[in-house]
């Protein structure tokens, strides 16, 4: 899969500027950058949610998981209805429990409403819904951004597990370099709408080639001692 010369413009403002990016099958590509870098616009373009010029080659059935699991689930639909949304009616009864199992949620949760779940559980439901669309590419936009640290780990482990078990290809977007480094095979760094560096995760973090990447790395807060 490949993103070719993709550009997103809002009026006179160019959010994504001629980005070309390889998305190898079965890989997790991490996308880091700060607000206004264009990473979310790129995600939405690849998902077909905003108009763009350029091409997204060979990425069938793109599905997206959003940052805020409180806003991305319909409060008036049960977990089962949400997860089954993209699935043909006759297969729903078997598919919904399977999908919930994939994200390590008990099948009984299908009858509950989002307000009865914790943030981490909601995000799992959102991931299960996306998996129900049998994605060729899963776009994860800051999916741990609004979760507590103590539940973030479990969601990240889940993301890695899905790649290993299902061979899922993923575009994983976050402002947190440590998080991206943990889940991604390669990391692309975006700045002012352009990809300024893209390479294997350890290399980008260990031997950054671009000044901006270095600045980002230096700013990551670390525990002393």
């Amino acid at each position: 899969m490949r993103i070719e010369r993709l550009t997103v413009r809002y009026g006179g403002f160019t959010a994504v500027d001629d980005v070309t990016l390889d998305l190898p099958d079965g890989h997790v590509v991490g996308l880091v950058g700060e607000s206004g870098s264009g990473k979310s616009s790129l995600a939405r373009a690849v998902s077909g949610l905003v108009p763009y010029t350029g091409r997204v080659v060979g990425a069938p059935r793109v599905q997206m998981v959003f940052q805020d699991p409180y806003a991305s689930l319909d409060p008036r639909m049960t977990v089962g209805e949400t997860v089954g949304e993209g699935i043909a009616k006759r297969r729903r009864a078997t598919e919904v429990p399977r999908l919930l199992g994939l994200v390590h949620l008990p099948a009984e949760l299908a009858g509950r409403y989002p307000r009865e779940l914790s943030g981490g559980q909601r995000q799992r439901v959102a991931i299960a819904r996306a998996l129900g669309g049998d994605p060729g590419l899963l776009v994860a936009d800051e999916i741990t951004g609004s979760l507590d640290v103590s539940v973030q780990g479990a969601v990240l482990n889940l993301v890695r597990g899905l790649r290993d078990e299902l061979g899922l290809s993923m575009l994983f977007i976050s402002h947190n370099l440590a998080v991206v480094r943990y889940v991604a095979d390669t990391i692309a760094v975006m700045h002012h709408g352009r990809v300024v560096e893209h390479g294997p995760a350890e290399q980008v973090v260990g031997e950054p080639a671009h000044d901006y990447t270095r600045a980002l790395l230096e700013a990551v807060p670390r525990l002393r001692g």
Binding site: S47, Q63, L216
Partner: protein
């Protein structure tokens, strides 16, 4: 939850709700029984009593056939109310249809419908009603149609606005990506999520429709004899208003009363729906006794046994104690629901109604906070929040807002205050402070706004700065700059900084000392440089282990903590962390460990940590 239902109950107990409810109930009863009881009287022609004024036999007088007007007013209730109901339903149906159409139509057609609705909303409703009524033919049918058409544009616009906000939501985007057809998106996602406000609007429109119909009948466009509604009675009586005012005032009063009743009820419904957490005053609960010992003279902020509670048994902060020395940076760290932000709010006197705050001691800069005037508190304490826009007025220029602080708190002259504002803005390294002082907050970036808020805190001479998640909404590189700035401010002014954050890495980097909160209590206190190696409480340790950093082993699963923090109303008698703790024993579930000294400058509340 109890607090929710309490809040809703309190809305229903307000005078306007009771009045509205009673009036509407009376109207409903009248509509049912009126014609049954007074129907015959209202139709009884009495040639001997034509066109009389008020008398004992006919309190509201009689009409030109000698019929009793009081009876006619009471009987007309059913017809007036049913017409209003039908008109409202027609208006709502038309409006919702028009409003929902753009969600399913192709883009061009959608834009046309939206434009048409906007034009109709701008058109005077009464004209629209009269026009329709004239076209549809004189009489009740025309009037009802007319009022329905007049109500429709408002409904259409409300539907459109509500639908547009739901259509922009992430869950609709997700549904679209899954290939859910637009019509299904409308019926499954959009309509269910906008139903409630639409129903509320229905109740309010009913009052309007009633008045509108009465108006139409009064103009002679509505109900025609021999039928009669309130408007028709008013029309007939109006000619005699100078002779026998009561014949017109009776029906007028009925219309007004019903209109007021429906509006009050609609308002109440809307408020009950909007209100979900605020509620009644709690009976003041006695706080802990004032602390006996001498206050800590070295402390610039001393908090002892601080408790914040809300009606319904929810206590988000439980007996928290905290001491800050001048020039010290203390990090208060905890996850969502730990009570850390309410702790900050309680110190600043900002706990939202109906929260109740109690403490054994709360001293700021050597004085009891209760003895400080708002002005003194405002000068000694500066607060910085996650969203800088919470502290900045979007309508005012940045420099002017800062200057205001000096004028109000220090009685400075305008020119001096303004100079100081520019100076402070430069101090927090806002580039080109002169120019930015003359700009509005929205013209500044997020980082610049946060600098401006910090500068605002520095307009006085704060002894304590409380910063609640000040960098959470900022990018890492900007976060780094703001952290550096906060440190400089502390070094320079000697103020103490209470830095509140969910991010233990940020806290560890910035602070001298760290206070870890869980379920409303402090579970551990330790020097920041001991976080990585010396943390003792199982929660602190798990929190640190959960944090991926740039050296985390990628081949191993990340640590996490199973389960969730208990809600403030659900904290049991034992250690609040017990349900999630790997070391928990039976004792942990039943008995709560106190904070005890554990090594130099470290205190821990855990049964399994040996001192």
């Amino acid at each position: 939850m109890r607090t929710d239902s309490d809040a809703r109950d309190s809305v229903w107990r307000s005078p306007s709700a009771i009045i509205g409810g009673v009036i509407v109930a009376l109207m409903a009863v009248l509509a049912v029984v009126g014609p049954l009881i007074w129907g015959a009287t209202a139709e009884r022609v009495d040639a001997a009593a034509i066109l009389q004024g008020s008398s004992a036999a006919h309190p509201l007088g009689t009409d030109n056939l000698g019929r009793d007007l009081l009876a006619r007013v009471l009987v007309a209730g059913r017809y007036s109310l049913s017409l209003a109901l039908v008109a409202t339903l027609i208006g709502a149906a038309l409006g919702i249809l028009l409003g929902a159409l753009p969600s399913v139509l192709p883009r061009r057609a959608a834009r046309f419908v939206t434009g048409a609705v906007h034009a109709l909303v701008a058109f005077p409703g009464l004209l629209l009603a009269m026009f329709t009524a004239v076209v549809a033919g004189l009489g009740a049918r025309g009037a009802v149609l007319g009022i329905g058409v007049a109500i429709a544009p408002g409904f259409a616009r409300l539907t459109q606005t509500l639908a547009a906000s739901v259509a922009g939501s992430d869950y609709v985007a997700a549904a679209r990506m899954l290939g859910v057809p637009r019509r299904r998106v409308l019926t499954r996602h959009i309509l269910p999520n906008i139903a409630e406000p639409l129903i509320l609007n229905l109740a309010q429109s009913l009052g309007g429709a009633l008045l509108g119909l009465a108006g139409m009948s009064f103009l002679g466009l509505g109900v025609q004899p021999p039928d009669f509604d309130w408007g028709r009675l008013l029309f007939d009586g109006f000619a005699r208003i100078y002779v026998d005012p009561e014949v017109a005032l009776g029906p007028a009063a009925a219309v007004a009363l019903a209109g007021i009743g429906f509006n009050l009820l609609g308002d109440t419904l809307a408020r009950a729906a909007a209100r979900s957490s605020a509620g009644r005053h709690q009976t003041d609960r006695p706080g802990p006794p004032p602390a006996e010992d001498e206050p800590d003279q070295d402390a610039v902020l001393e908090v002892r046994d601080l408790t914040v509670s809300f009606p319904g048994g929810s206590t988000p902060v439980r007996g928290l104690s905290l001491t800050l020395a001048p020039g010290e940076i203390v990090g208060l760290v905890g996850e969502s629901g730990s009570g850390k932000s309410l702790t900050a709010a309680a110190i600043g006197g900002l706990v939202p109604y109906p929260g109740a705050v109690t403490y054994a001691r709360l001293r700021l800069a050597g004085a009891d906070v209760a003895d400080l005037t708002d002005k003194e508190l405002g000068t000694a304490l500066a607060m910085v929040f996650q969203d800088p826009m919470a502290s900045l007025n979007p309508a005012l220029r940045v420099g002017g807002q800062l200057a205001e602080v000096a004028v109000v708190h220090q009685g400075a002259s305008r020119a001096d205050a303004r100079r100081r504002a520019v100076d402070r803005l430069g101090h927090v390294r806002l580039p080109d402070p002169e120019r930015h002082a003359g700009q509005h907050p929205h013209e500044l970036s997020g980082g610049m706004r946060q600098r401006a808020v910090i500068a605002m805190g520095l307009m006085g001479t704060p002894r304590v700065v409380i910063a609640d998640e000040p960098t959470t909404a900022l990018d890492v590189t900007v976060q780094r700059q703001i952290l550096r700035l906060l440190r400089e401010v502390v070094t320079e002014t000697g103020a103490a900084l209470l830095f509140i954050s969910h991010d233990i890495a940020v806290v560890g980097e910035l602070c001298d000392r760290v206070v870890v909160m869980y379920a409303g209590r402090v579970v551990e206190e330790l020097p920041a440089d001991r976080l990585a190696a010396g943390a003792a409480h199982p929660y602190t340790r798990a929190l640190i282990a959960s944090l991926p950093d740039l050296d985390t082993d990628r081949s191993r699963p990340l640590a996490g903590i199973p389960g969730t923090q208990p809600a403030p109303a659900r904290v049991g008698p034992g250690c609040a962390f017990a349900p999630r703790c790997v070391l928990a024993t039976a004792r942990c579930h039943g008995e709560r460990p106190e904070l005890v000294v554990h090594g130099p400058r470290q205190r821990v509340a855990c049964w399994e940590v040996t001192p």
